[in-house]
Symmetry: D2
Subunit: 346 residues, 4 copies
Amino acid sequence: MNPAAPPAAVDDLYRDVSAADLQPLWRLQGLLTEQPTTRAFPHRWPGTTLRSLAGRARDLVPIGGGGDRRVLACANPGLGGAPYATPTLWAAVQALAAGERAPAHRHTPAALRFVLDGAGVWTAVDGDALHMSRGDLVLTPSWTFHEHYNPGERPMTWLDVLDLPIVQFLGAVFYQPGEAAVVDARPARSASEHRFGGGPGLLPQPLDGPVPPAHSPLLAYRWPDTDRALALLLADGADHARVRFTDPTTGRDAMPTLRCEMIRVAAASVTGGSRQTGSQVLTVFSGEGRAVVGGVEFPLEQGDVVAVPSWATLSLSTGPGLDLFCVSDAPVLEGLGLYRRIETDD
Amino acid sequence: MNPAAPPAAVDDLYRDVSAADLQPLWRLQGLLTEQPTTRAFPHRWPGTTLRSLAGRARDLVPIGGGGDRRVLACANPGLGGAPYATPTLWAAVQALAAGERAPAHRHTPAALRFVLDGAGVWTAVDGDALHMSRGDLVLTPSWTFHEHYNPGERPMTWLDVLDLPIVQFLGAVFYQPGEAAVVDARPARSASEHRFGGGPGLLPQPLDGPVPPAHSPLLAYRWPDTDRALALLLADGADHARVRFTDPTTGRDAMPTLRCEMIRVAAASVTGGSRQTGSQVLTVFSGEGRAVVGGVEFPLEQGDVVAVPSWATLSLSTGPGLDLFCVSDAPVLEGLGLYRRIETDD
Amino acid sequence: MNPAAPPAAVDDLYRDVSAADLQPLWRLQGLLTEQPTTRAFPHRWPGTTLRSLAGRARDLVPIGGGGDRRVLACANPGLGGAPYATPTLWAAVQALAAGERAPAHRHTPAALRFVLDGAGVWTAVDGDALHMSRGDLVLTPSWTFHEHYNPGERPMTWLDVLDLPIVQFLGAVFYQPGEAAVVDARPARSASEHRFGGGPGLLPQPLDGPVPPAHSPLLAYRWPDTDRALALLLADGADHARVRFTDPTTGRDAMPTLRCEMIRVAAASVTGGSRQTGSQVLTVFSGEGRAVVGGVEFPLEQGDVVAVPSWATLSLSTGPGLDLFCVSDAPVLEGLGLYRRIETDD
Amino acid sequence: MNPAAPPAAVDDLYRDVSAADLQPLWRLQGLLTEQPTTRAFPHRWPGTTLRSLAGRARDLVPIGGGGDRRVLACANPGLGGAPYATPTLWAAVQALAAGERAPAHRHTPAALRFVLDGAGVWTAVDGDALHMSRGDLVLTPSWTFHEHYNPGERPMTWLDVLDLPIVQFLGAVFYQPGEAAVVDARPARSASEHRFGGGPGLLPQPLDGPVPPAHSPLLAYRWPDTDRALALLLADGADHARVRFTDPTTGRDAMPTLRCEMIRVAAASVTGGSRQTGSQVLTVFSGEGRAVVGGVEFPLEQGDVVAVPSWATLSLSTGPGLDLFCVSDAPVLEGLGLYRRIETDD
């Protein structure tokens, strides 16, 4: 304080400032930090636990009784009880029993479904029916009606990731229940794939609509394609390969808020460390290994979900090889000029 | 719950789910709402109060003693004590006494300065000195070194708006103090204006740098230009006009996170209502009138700052005429496909 | 002429205008026509003739003796002897005997190779070896070194299309001979396909280079992919389908001057007519049928090349079905705002 | 030829090739040159001649009698009689006597008008009336109706530049006469300038239309703005400055085919040489000096028009100072990846 300032006048000032719904910057802490800070912790949700609890919920909680979806959301213990894996990403396991149906709705938060195991559920996106099988990535982009149904005889569980915290933060959540749909079509390929799944660089003409949608018109990325793309990239002997799931009409991220990538770490490899602004959610698709996240070491087994906070270092190692599905908010940061990524020694 | 499920098993499930840092979606409320919800309130900080408290702080609090900047931040009473005008925008008044200097630093949050009254302060942006005068908009974009100095004999106060809450939310705040700068250059025009301020559509060749920066290379928008642009637009008898401050090399918003516009409401006019996703901060530059924000009516006088939460209706009316400086996060929402704006009846 | 003007003065004026290298607009004809005019004729080069003459040239003309390439260029009879199929497109057949090599060079005109029959030739593009087989489209983009070699025991013939007339018109032809290369690598897949041929929407990370090249990094589009994409599009019973060959990193045309598409007309179908600005070259890949181009009817058989001048109507019909490879300058016209396409009755 | 080939068989081959409308590449010359070649010559049309002949034409040739426009087109002597200043650019002087009117029409070729002297003519573009005065650049973009009228008492002459050769080459010329318009509005500013002429970086909201037009919505660039922009750029002591006329909503060239720039060479300066692909037309607005174009030296006086062929070196020198208006086809070449520009020693 001004040494010459009468203490009473200063006290009065602070009282009046507070009464006026103002705050003096010079008394605030932690706003402009040298490096990013975050309340989120590096955290691992074990796959065994996720599968076990999803199974128990499937047996005990009817889908019609408690809500539209049978979903267990990863709640990062650093976030004060918020049901978010990181400050910007929702990650959850969703279970659907044989014969069950999760009814249609739509919302501005965008979602993706990544199948960790099994097959047999269908997801309809604006009426287009997409079969889901192990390793497939299925998009339910912002404001598209979507429902899930399981006409088979076996339950199925998959990973959901949403940009819900981002859309909530921006005050842009809209929600609408869908028609009571009875979509029982089960085509060999979705209409989306009929048009956009022909092959790399092959686009149908004319494109639908005068302006391309903000999200990929290709709604499913099939595991055999992803697996082959990774194998081709590793053919030159690299220690890891990374494939991004993109909109084939633009080459940009498949959805404007969520970057989706599959990382394959070759057997007996250690990746160099890196850190990036924005947060990430990793899921172990197959293999096993270890991750060091912000100095914390986690074992990695099939089905594990790992939260990587902003600017935390990340390195991976594996004996038998490791396939990781990785989601981040990087497109948001890139679009705003806030994305930084560096390689690190640790 | 499944009517047939043993209550004890269900209790066990919830206990284990919680212990595993998971949360059942079907027990969460308020995540997917039909329309945007926000904790922020429509709120007005009166210009008289802001000026008075800024003046008292200037007299009582030395700039060197308590921090780098003498700033009073608008704290929206709905945000639980956070020093933010809206969930995404920092708004504040900054005061600099005669002879004072706010030393150089830089940070990834982007800032703008809008001069509500007076003249005489200089802001240096990466070494380029910009004079500040009533009605001028001066940019200090993300990660540019900036300092303010007041070589004159009169104090000066202006409005600061930053995207700090956005950058904080995304985990991307970096900060760095600057060199002990002694920038005493006081050119008639900044280098930025020498190059990019020649006139509408006139760009120097070659442009500096192989890739344009994400922000406008024009760092100051001068009031006489803004005033003339508004007058020209109103010449056809419309009830209001709106000018956007853009990057002259791209036509996009001057900074990637903040939309800056000046709205002139003609005398004896009422604008139709509108609502948009994302939040806004309005400042009364001149004139007076009334704003209805989300059903709450506020008088508008010179220097007032008003917070408009996401999806709150906004309408304006004036007797003598009204000039409003308006900042929003709309570029962020547009880039993510989340921007919606509708005209309303109320 | 001005009725009052002295004829001698007018004569003097025209003499002096001409002597000054000027021309009076009002005495010029045909500059601003109601609709596009072109000197090019609708024209067909029969596949049987092309194959026969290419074979005779292969037997009689050594590749080392007369030039770098053994190429017969389609010369539209309307173009006054210019070796161009249309005013903007070069189209030619190229033949390579068993054991022959066409040495490396590069030039700013961009080229594509479309294999009408056979297999066994390799094209190296900046050192990346691409095998060529029936139905494949191989790119040799602007200013990439390229060479062709035929290590097999059978001769091979394919179609070349270049934007040479465009680059020549713009005064931008550069040419450079390549190193005496001995590229004998014959990988199962090119490096280009290793990286970009994994599947629709799958992109390797990181992308090479800070700025994407103007052309597709995917240099080969394989017939099995193209065939499957067309079959998927026709699965809904349409009378024809059209697939565009695009840059998978942008969704734009594979090269900035040449649009490449494959059109499949279903058996027993007639397509509606259309006309578009800019010219096209069609090649019959398989099947047979008829084309009406600007009122002229042509039979279509395997290997035929057809020139479609600007704004000429085009309609297609087939009994057994028809696959056409189609190249146009449409990206040039689109980029300049000059592309128009309409459906017609004839 | 193949030494072993029977000469008669070779002769037969060439005869049959020619009869089939084919040409053997290996017998063609000059197609793929090491550097750009062009038939156009470096050429200068003296301003005194242009003014004198335009004046005589004005007196002798009525505008209604011989055509829509009284225009003398610069015909480069290298182009075999074509009425084009370069292979891609039409350049001409247009004269309108007191009281005359050149009636409305539109065409896909885009045009610009640059006023070398005088004032008083109005050009209406899609009904928007723009006054023309010395140093102004007025756009009549592709497919906009335009007419010129001279309500004053003095004749006026200006420079026209069109992309007509480009549009003709691409087979995309459309033309339509306009309504018999009687546009006598003479506003102080055009509607275009009311909306887009407020100042650098200031854009009206909302922008008209969902998609911006391919050309600048700002149709006039006024000499006082251009002059000030150049003066600001030269304030730091450079030997020359260059301002580009751009679309304020995108920062791109004002029209998609024509780059327009004003170059000011400071007194007693010599610019370094440069060469670029694509051609240019220069006009001397004020001052005098010398240009060396492709090794040919030309004096430069007010009103001179100079053709600079592709890849010809260009350097400028002046004693008293020099203002040059420069038009090129560079946006076309840039869009196709064919633009190259280098600095040279000569």
